[in-house]
């Protein structure tokens, strides 16, 4: 076996859809487009496709680089590539940017074909269900009737779960990582604080900031800072920053004294410079609304009654935003339906972010599960 390597130089593609998409909200997208990337080769009987669903701030650039000098490979590059746990010598991997995103797919930043102006605040509120329906159409457009696997972490795991509910015949395996069957009240609360930070930014203008030539950077920055705190564990933060002072002493003011503050400000600024606030609002709402058990009086097992896929469910011990207990709820519902499921609770210090880290045991789990899949 050759050493794990990168998928190399990649380029995004765009798929246009003219068949209207009915959304859960009742709105209809008359036409839309999705940007996506693919890695590896689709085999002759098209049985080796794996789709990657992204989380809140993710996109279609999952692996590889855009050119030799590119210092930022795709967001799950450590997992995907030749000889890596999700081996592109075996699988044809598809990454896409979800509807409502800000990386090229139809969303608030894109042009509304009806008005020829950016959608802005008028882009509909999209849900996990809508995303999965659009993803299924992307699979159609690639001639793929059935996915070998659907893979996602966090909000991406919710999409993976939804695939198995909405399209039981179209997905053989679901890898649901650091996810939950719905958000807890505490999680919705964090999202609400993030949204309030954005909405109350004077430069938000009801989401119409494009027309005012401004960006609600302050709001988005605070939203991201809050998010970052919740994605890390207390221990991980303590180990990385502790009470380290940037200049060795406190300065009796309100600028950066602690390294922790410096890190949060850096992350907030970076994010506010590259992400769209209207997209952030929609991604957090999609998280809040996902609740497949809602129509079944809260009975998740009943909600999963038609599911046929095999599952790998993985959680991380220090993840308090999507805690192991939430993954165990999914596992219980799968067991109640006598589905094939393996569940791993990975000992990890990095909190929710652990699902993106190249932890050896975690990657062995992924590697072995994916190796078992016949294509």
């Amino acid at each position: 076996m050759s050493l794990p390597s990168s998928v190399g130089i990649v380029a995004a593609k765009t798929a246009h859809f003219t068949e209207p998409l009915s959304l859960k909200s009742g709105d209809v997208l008359s036409q839309y487009h999705l940007v996506y990337e693919t890695y590896g080769k689709l085999n002759a009987d098209k049985s080796n496709a794996v789709m990657i669903c992204h989380a809140l701030s993710g996109n279609h650039h999952v692996a590889g680089k855009y050119d030799e000098a590119d210092k930022n490979p795709g967001w799950w590059d450590n997992l995907i590539g030749p000889g890596k746990p999700l081996d592109t010598n075996k699988f044809f991997v598809i990454g896409l940017n979800n509807l409502g995103g800000c990386h090229g797919s139809s969303g608030p930043l894109s042009t509304n074909p009806a008005t020829d102006k950016p959608w802005g605040a008028s882009f509909p509120v999209v849900t996990v269900e809508d995303w999965v329906n659009s993803q299924a159409r992307l699979a159609d457009s690639l001639g793929i009737k059935q996915l070998a696997a659907i893979v996602g972490g966090s909000l991406g795991g919710m999409q993976a779960l939804q695939w198995t509910i909405a399209y039981p015949e179209r997905v053989r395996n679901a890898l649901v990582i650091a996810s939950a069957p719905n958000l807890t009240a505490q999680n919705i609360a964090f999202n609400e604080v993030a949204r309030q930070a954005i909405i109350t930014d004077p430069e938000f203008h009801g989401g119409d900031y494009y027309n005012h030539g401004v960006l609600p950077r302050r709001g988005l920055r605070i939203a991201r800072m809050l998010g970052h705190i919740t994605y890390l564990s207390d221990d991980a933060m303590g180990a990385k920053f502790g009470r380290k002072l940037r200049d060795g002493h406190v300065k009796y003011g309100f600028d950066v004294d602690f390294e922790m503050e410096s890190y949060l400000r850096y992350q907030g600024d970076k994010f506010a410079g590259e992400f769209d606030a209207n997209t952030y609002l929609r991604m957090t709402r999609a998280l809040d609304y996902f609740d497949p058990a809602f129509d079944y009086q809260g009975d998740l097992s009943a909600a999963l009654a038609k599911v046929k896929s095999d599952f790998l469910v993985v959680s991380f011990t220090s993840d308090w935003r999507f805690s192991p207990g939430r993954s165990r709820e999914i596992v219980k519902a799968l067991l109640d339906n006598e589905l094939s499921v393996s569940y791993a609770e990975v000992t990890a210090a990095h909190g929710h972010d652990a699902f993106l880290m190249p932890d050896e045991h975690y990657h062995n789990i992924m590697r072995q599960y994916l190796a078992k899949i016949e294509v």
């Binding site: 165990r328 596992v331 067991l335 109640d336 006598e338 499921v341 569940y343 791993a344 072995q368 078992k372």
Partner: protein, 207 residues
């Protein structure tokens, strides 16, 4: 449970109880194997009995081995109970050579009886004559079935066959069948002295 996994990694010889456990499992049964180790019992039962089943395993390395053996394996600590499993949702729940290493022994036996219509438990007999001799000569027993020193043993709830019979009577647990073995051979007389491995087939006494 400390180094319970050492128990799980016992040699194939020491897990000779597999074949005997298999006699008590009906074809096509739905089986839950607690402390499934590398999953070899379940993968064997799948071949010989066409069973459906899940393993429960706490240890990372064993978990990977079990998955590699094609077993659906749930990572959890038995000590936290079986709340992830519905009542009477399995035909058989198996706890093979692990009972003695469990802290909440009584609770776990009742949990197994809640989840399974039938329970199979195997454990080393502390009353085995070689163990008695070692105690009489002044040492904690060390044997093929109890391969640990007192300071590194995962076994915290060792019992004799008499003890376990008493426990079942007291707890209203019905012993359907009992098999006592020494070196893979069945023992019929003076079982609590001559046997080094006990196997029980249990049901809840109520009903």
């Amino acid at each position: 449970m400390g180094n319970l996994e050492k128990n799980m990694a016992m040699s194939a010889d020491a897990r000779a109880d597999f074949a005997l456990i298999a006699q008590w499992v009906a074809p096509n049964a739905k089986v839950l194997d607690l402390g499934c180790g590398d999953g070899s019992l379940l993968s064997q039962l799948r071949k010989t009995h066409n069973i459906r089943g899940y393993g429960v395993e706490k240890d990372d390395a064993n978990w990977l081995k079990a998955m590699n053996n094609g077993v659906d394996v749930i990572q959890m600590d038995l000590e936290s109970g079986l709340s992830g499993f519905e009542a009477q949702s399995f035909d058989v729940v198996i706890l093979s050579q692990t009972l003695q290493a469990v802290l909440n022994t009584e609770a776990i036996v009742h949990e197994m009886l809640r989840v399974g219509r039938e329970v199979i438990v195997t454990f080393p007999n502390f009353g085995y004559w070689r163990h008695r001799i070692q105690i009489m000569t002044g040492n904690m027993p060390v044997s093929d079935n109890l391969p640990y020193q007192w300071y590194d043993t995962p076994n915290v709830h060792l019992c004799t066959i008499n003890d376990f019979d008493d426990f079942c009577r007291k707890s209203n647990i019905k012993v359907q069948q009992r098999l006592v073995l020494t070196d893979k051979k069945e023992v019929h007389v003076m079982t609590n002295i001559r046997g080094n491995l006990a196997m029980y087939r249990l049901r809840s006494g109520q009903s």
